[in-house]
Symmetry: D2
Subunit: 481 residues, 4 copies
């Protein structure tokens, strides 16, 4: 059965992780302003999954339990699954204006499904069965998952073993009879504190780096884990605010990432899905990329849809929504949104099973990467166009809190007025809303999130058969009748 948001809230009530934001200990996930937003967003994944209008997009049938489950816990078994997942991503960002928090978890589950299958095929049998058991547990309870991927890494010029501190990549420091002990950290983890489970999987490691080749599942707030939440200006603003309704995205806020530190965290064997098999780390990373990156495009297209809508509203309220140069701005936003969406859509449709026989489907790598690269560039174009449309109040708007005083309210409503049939309060709020998206960390997040663009560009290069292109060129250049 698809989980409900009520069930999710109930579970969250039980979580008491060691977590800090802005120098303060988080007392209650459900009421702390910086965690409430991400909990609202994860709750929205359950809410939409229970909405019959979105059943095809938001849910799937588990082949292991037969349950109807959230698609975010589904192992993609077909092209249609791949397509529906990107529609889910766009729908979620359209519906919340922020990261759904579970996307990485979905990628992690899919990557491990493929990787443990590959190990099993090669005779390393213990992990796949364990993973499937774990998956059934997830499906049965429709738990929310997050992926723990990127270690802090320290000095990028040096391999893990040459770092001044060996813990700069998460590692196994002890193997016990009942499980393993982890030390290190995972960085940039979106919404980790708001989910039920963290799916840990490794980057690509070489022989001699066995201690770093670890995949497992860790429950929210496991002993030894500390969460340090990001603290951008908008996080600080929300923390300090007396009325979240006056913020740019009242309910869902901005993307909330965190550094998750593992101080000798114990993981029992039944939750361990790789333990030293460096040979499979490259496959795992590639699988994760193929399942994850193509969602970056729809994710940003969803933001872009909101930016487009807000821009339209503000253009109207400025009286300029038919001006030729404003129309061109709309076109720039639309182009950026749909270009990245299109690449992702093709990535899904040209997806393939990997490894063959596993039944796990992954998006095409080249179009995935392309979608992400187009999303990066596109988002900055979207920001320019939106700023151009909105004009100065995008950044010079006073706080809506001023409206609580009748005298100041009168002055602001008088002087911030646009087209007279559009309520000035709505206009103010929409400026704040747009500000949240285009005068904020969003673009930098878009650029950096999901992997360094340099590596993605090189993946596009390496994934392209240049010899075949050379053959085509030769055949015409040296052609004769």
């Amino acid at each position: 059965m698809v989980g409900t948001k009520e069930q999710y809230f109930e579970r969250v009530k039980g979580y008491k992780p060691e977590a800090f934001v802005g120098g303060e200990r988080i007392k209650d996930l459900l009421t702390d302003p910086n965690t409430r937003t991400i909990i609202n967003t994860v709750a929205k994944t359950y809410e939409l999954a229970c909405d019959p209008r979105f059943e095809r997009i938001m849910t799937a049938e588990s082949p292991w339990t037969g349950d109807r489950i959230s698609r975010l816990n589904h192992i993609a078994g077909s092209i249609e699954d791949l397509e529906m997942r990107l529609e889910l991503t766009r729908l979620m960002t359209q519906s919340t204006g922020t990261c759904c928090g579970r996307c990485g978890g979905c990628s992690g589950l899919n990557a491990l499904a493929a990787t443990t299958y590959a190990m099993k095929k090669d005779g390393i049998g213990e992990y796949h069965g364990r993973f499937i058991d774990y998956l059934k547990f997830i499906h049965r309870h429709d738990l929310s998952c997050h992926a723990a991927t990127t270690s802090p890494k320290g000095d990028r010029t040096k391999p893990p073993s040459e770092q001044s501190d060996l813990d700069l990549h998460l590692r196994i420091i002890e193997k016990r009879r009942d499980g393993i002990v982890l030390r290190g950290a995972k960085a940039h983890q979106t919404s980790a504190i708001a989910v039920d489970e963290m799916i840990v999987y490794p980057g690509s490691f070489a022989e001699g780096e066995e201690a770093y080749a670890v995949a497992c599942a860790v429950p929210n707030g496991a002993e030894g884990i500390t969460y340090f939440l990001q603290f951008n200006s908008d996080d600080a603003e929300r923390r300090a605010s007396n009325d979240v309704a006056t913020l740019g995205n009242p309910l869902y806020g901005g993307r909330q990432t965190m550094l998750v530190v593992y101080e000798d965290v114990f993981v029992p064997w039944e939750r361990v899905f790789m333990c030293g098999e460096v040979k499979y780390t490259a496959l795992c990373l590639r699988a994760a990329r193929r399942t994850h990156i193509y969602n970056e495009g729809p994710c940003k297209a969803g933001f872009g849809d909101l930016i487009l809508g807000a821009s339209k509203f503000l253009a109207e309220s400025n009286g300029l929504d038919k001006a030729p140069h404003i129309l061109e701005d709309f076109v720039k936003i639309i182009s950026a949104n749909e270009t990245t969406y299109a690449s992702a859509w093709v990535a899904a449709h040209k997806g393939t099973e990997m490894p063959v026989g596993s039944g796990v489907f992954f998006a095409d790598e080249r179009f995935s990467v392309l979608s992400k690269l187009n999303a990066n560039e596109g988002f900055y174009e979207v920001m320019k166009a939106a700023a151009d449309i909105a004009g100065g109040l995008l950044v010079t708007m006073p706080s809506e809190m001023e409206l609580k005083d009748p005298g100041r309210r009168a002055l602001l409503l008088k002087y911030l007025k646009g087209r007279s049939d559009i309520p000035t309060e709505e206009r103010m709020r929409m400026f704040k809303f747009l500000n949240h998206f285009v005068a904020s960390p969003h673009a930098a997040q878009a650029w950096i999130g999901g992997g360094a663009p340099y590596h993605l560009r090189m993946a596009l290069y390496e994934g392209t058969d240049l010899e075949e292109k050379k053959r085509l060129a030769r055949s015409i250049a040296f052609g004769c009748e």
Copy 2:
């Protein structure tokens, strides 16, 4: 049965159109250097259609005759047809490095299939049957067709009726018992002289402009028709060359367009598919755009594949194919190619039947337009990257004709050498080949061909539901728990 290139050559032998290029009368289509190229290209459409490897891409089954026919004469009846057509387009440009010449004809046939169906549904019965009969004729002989769309238009600020010359839009000057008489011209017609049939269809006209609302089919070299071929530098170069092997694209040359003048050309009724029904011109134009524009992307991606291959060759011969900045150049070319391809692919897959019930499928208009807009910008990026990779010889290469003299040959092979294991003759030819694509009219053709970008941008704007986006933005901006 799919036609063969031999049959095509045989038919061409019979065509003696009144045609001029560079101030000279064309004496023989098959031997004139400026028409031979486009005939080779059209012939290639038949050759590949007869090649079993490409059967699925290049051919289809005619529902009217049951014949296996060239896909370029096929009325798209499914999403798969739409997808296969774009693969055909990329395959053809990869295989010839130029316009296949029949793409517009295919678009014209599809547009008229839909338009005549719509008229029939509204009780204007004569055209559809006639058109189907004509289509059967085309299918039975697998004739090659070209579309005659754009009138010269004169002063763009004025409607047809206010032009200083009423003939600046092609028009019906007389309706007779046995047919109609046309006067005017169609501009920018690619390969028109190399095909069997020209499919004439109108732009969008308003009430009072009935004389311009004409669709019909005119055979190659019909009485009263004069063809004026374009004369770019590369056309002149080919005309003057003693050895086409030394040219950039030896067999297929560059895109060859022409101005086709109609001096009182008679068309019998059985070949007339619209005659004054201005109400249907908008549908016809939209259908043509939906079937045509999404092929611009794959077309340029095919060129881009050749440019990529040539760039790879030249980077190797310069010894720089692993330099980091050259890899980034490759990535720019790949990104441009695949981005426009991706948009087109989605256009095909999101295609729909129009009008409902007609059985005729058209690509999605928004993604079609996007593909074209991305192709435009992308091609200039491709050109920059290719120039960056190739270096100076891209434009400073002496003529290969010098090699015919042993002394000059020795000097040139000595001093134009790159990596020593790559033959200098091949290097020279590849520079010329790349020059043909990136130091040439190709980019301007890409930009302009298929319709003014301004109108396409506006189509993207008009095709996007901004109210829906506004609703999404409002729902989050004004959201509360």
Copy 3:
């Protein structure tokens, strides 16, 4: 004598304006966190002016009083003055990372010097003498000034007289024997509350709009004036912070703008420099643009210098400062900075006296506009490159406040470490610093500030002699020996 920052602080102590930020009344300009930053910045203009190293850039000699004065109160009398002013702008942004607050005031004084001169020359004598007297007053005390230019404007499709509220453009509601009474507002006013004087001047108005054609000087906190400060996330963050050292720009913060409302504000005649002379409003606006806009480039180049420096620091601490793709990122930042600077530099050097005989020099309009347009586009490129260099911690960095607890400090210093010889505390602070510039409202401010890009583009078009270019083209195209 050039003023000192101590004198400035002394004056500020006396100002008790009616001002609001984030819903709260500002009690003390010197201690309120959201005004302290802009006061620090204005103070910096005095500090640097008193620093002998910067004398040539920061000061000038008043031709009216013979005093050495701040260049920000100087009427440019030569090309060198124009050049030094742009160097001042870049020096100030390099030194504070924010708007110096007095740049607009300087533009306003220069615009009024030219406009009142023009009126005098046409026989409207009273204003120029008055303005010079006022200028002497400013020079004698080296007061800081700000420009009040842009009215809220309401619905942009309608002229002032057709707005639903006539006050949406600032207007004279009464002329008395001793002065005039103003009603309305000025929007987007940077640092207005931190300066001694506001220089009010009009946009361009037409006959019939005399009430809006008003220029005058209003002291800080004049009776009837209310200031509503902007409230972006970073303003909120600062307001809530316990330790400004942990913020991105500790001392100077972000650009602080405000809406300044005039509720029947009385201005005595000796401070009125235009009162109904609509004919001169166009000149005034043009003069303001010519003196102001060319400073947008150096202003953003100064920010860019800081971003470049921070990026270099972070690239080093990531261990990636020699990676080829990171070098390319540095080049992108450098190019953007120096391209906009170069256009501004030419604008200064091609400056001219306006009106002839006035002795007032203005930068060339075309290159001014170009500098601004290049700054707009450039800043987004800078942001992309900086995000690319910095990587994820740019937006996922926890608060430096965590370091106050020894245990959390140990964990964060361990896991946020980069190259081991670079202190992690510095690394954390530099991430926050860079975040302040490139994951923030800065780009949107750059885009919008100084006038709508559309109008600037049209100014570039109108300022270019296309007929002359046509003549050049004709002369070659139709040339013969």
Copy 4:
């Protein structure tokens, strides 16, 4: 005395170089269509130098002979000289639409003035005096010079000594009592065959590569020299044309480069200015870059002026010159032109003497490079905008030769008509003119000419003091009161 074009023509009559184009021996430089154009252009440098309107731009006073000489032979001795040289460059491209042919020569003379001075200062005395004597000779006769810089280089991954053929870099194969003997080639040499003298100077070489460190002067057509002219499509078109008036740039054609092969060419000592002093090659290269590259911007801006003028003409004749999107296109062209011009202007004005004491002035390297990089990108933007403005006839225009037949003339003038008050013949010619600039090798030439962009970008990086920027960033990021 400034030379006249008549004197120049007279000298050219005497030149009988061994030169080939398109596989044919050039018989007469003055009548061969592919050399006549570059001779016309060089002649234009003399013509404008004799025109009193352009005296300040086109001429200077020789400090060595006291003569008024062409500025293209002048050793820049001041900032004003640097500024005037860039004005000369823009004037020449505005006046001819092509490379003036003498720009490189001017750079070579300036580079050698500085380099020989540096050697003399270090006690290597023979070269400077010789060079000054040579310069006096040039000044006395006002000869035209060209620079021979770039050797073919073969495989770029290998140094000269590891090439499969040691001659792939021009080298001294023998030192005799009376002079030296050279073997090798120089590539991409613009207009070399149309000038009086070739100024040979080296790239940067290291110890052990003494044979390649050679600078000298070689007269046109010296024994042992063979010229291989480039053969782009437009070269071929011109070669074949019966009426050059129908070509895009009737008199001056396109840039004409050539490969110049040195088969054991003897150079007497009085013309040798460096012979093995590898230590000075880096200075020489840097000097050449500093004097040359900043002219790339004005050169392309001059082309851009012509493109702008032609676009304006065609927009008018299409009736679209006031359409909002066309105005934006104009702005794009203007922005590109003036942005690159501005960077160059600053490069000139921030120029410095090098070496100190030499009296030779060079443009600032960073702004020079920036000008060139902006020119590269800008030219592609210009091409897009021009194509957008012009529309399809830009590439589909039939040959003007058709007009020689009355019947065809009537048809073409009827159907190619635009706005009725603009002669269709002019319209046709202007389309051909614009085609010559934007559907041609011009952009690739702009991109590649003057050095590989990668090296220029790295020069910008290396020329920027990133440590100083880091210091600025630190000072604010870590600032406290």
